[in-house]
Symmetry: C2
Subunit: 211 residues, 2 copies
């Protein structure tokens, strides 16, 4: 399952390097992955077909096999691609935050915004639990690892409590994923910036009564 | 999808009432549901079979059809059954807690313990997202609703901040589910009481530095 970190979601099998070498190739690969997100998101892994993906992408069937050997392989690449898209959406916003508490608030708000724009992310990541457990687990492990690093950096700068670590990061990751399901996926009307403000206030100050 | 609240996970179709009326019937139904948990947990919905469930339960195939019309129907009943088993495991422990902050700690610790004993719960609840979305959503909505009620009761008793509500409850639910996946399902060595203590301390006091 170990793949070299390649072009967007790029799968490189042991047999041959399928990483596109030209800008045009990278564009085709992205078109295939975007089409796969719609196809798997709408129809699920088992009902989805390679021919429908290439039809949606407007590419020839041959292009598909330039980059992927099978439906399993593009699904695996798609999980990584979505994970990277999410990271690329959230990370610059979080890095621009003035401190770690506000970084977590911005991280949640931008995650909720991402979910509203990419509703298929839940179905795809969650289906990976059944199609390719390795990808499923890696998505959460890398996402939570980024939270852990943020927390520890914030603690080192003296912005938050000093004892933060992996347990806190998993707790925050779960909080975000559930709020994303409830207020990003199911309920598309509520004010995500208000949701993020309220959740972040609990994260910052806790449930205890203020004195 | 609205079912009357019946015997354990009991499904009652519109056509006929399949709720067991005798203790022996309730025992058979529970045997079938326990066997279904193992079968669906090990093989997944699509690979699972009714005959394997009755074999595991040590019951005749006819008993299956006394209570269920299809594999879909027992899967749906199983999701409700697991949801109820979880509630029956956690609720009395939580209710014995001296205050709401400790109730959340005990809730998390007993949830982690439940996951260690019922590892199949993740696979079954998560597969419901694809097999029966209504059951999937109801499981989380009822679980989170219990948290919300606990929080609001704790606030009314003056044990925690006064402004708690649904957003806080979804955040806590997600926290628990992710900690359960990481430390209940994947890692079976770590000390769950220590995990619960650390997560609860963040929940109680927040990420801010203590003065």
């Amino acid at each position: 399952m170990d793949q070299p970190q390649a072009a967007p979601g790029g799968g490189a099998s042991e047999a041959r390097d399928k990483t596109p070498r030209t800008e045009r190739g990278r564009r085709t690969l992205r078109k295939l992955l975007d089409a796969a997100a719609v196809e798997f998101g709408e129809r699920g892994f088992h009902e989805a077909s390679i021919s429908a993906i290439t039809r949606r992408a407007g590419t020839a069937l041959g292009s598909f096999y330039t980059y992927f050997d099978s439906k399993e392989e593009i699904f695996q690449a798609l999980v990584r691609y979505m994970s990277e898209q999410l990271r690329d959406h959230v990370t610059p916003r979080v890095q621009a935050a003035p401190d770690e508490i506000r970084a977590e608030r911005i991280g949640l708000e931008s995650y909720l915004g991402f979910v509203r724009e990419h509703k298929e992310i839940y179905r795809i990541i969650d289906e990976a639990e059944f199609v390719d457990y390795e990808s499923y687990r890696r998505h959460y492990e890398t996402t939570v690892e980024r939270i852990r690093q943020r927390l520890e950096a914030g603690a080192a700068r003296g912005e938050i409590r000093a004892d933060v670590g992996e347990i806190h990061a998993w707790a925050i990751g779960g909080m975000n994923v559930f709020l994303g399901m409830r207020y990003g996926l199911w309920d598309t009307d509520s004010d995500i910036s208000e949701i993020a403000r309220i959740a972040n206030d609990m994260l910052a100050n806790g449930l205890k009564k203020r004195d």
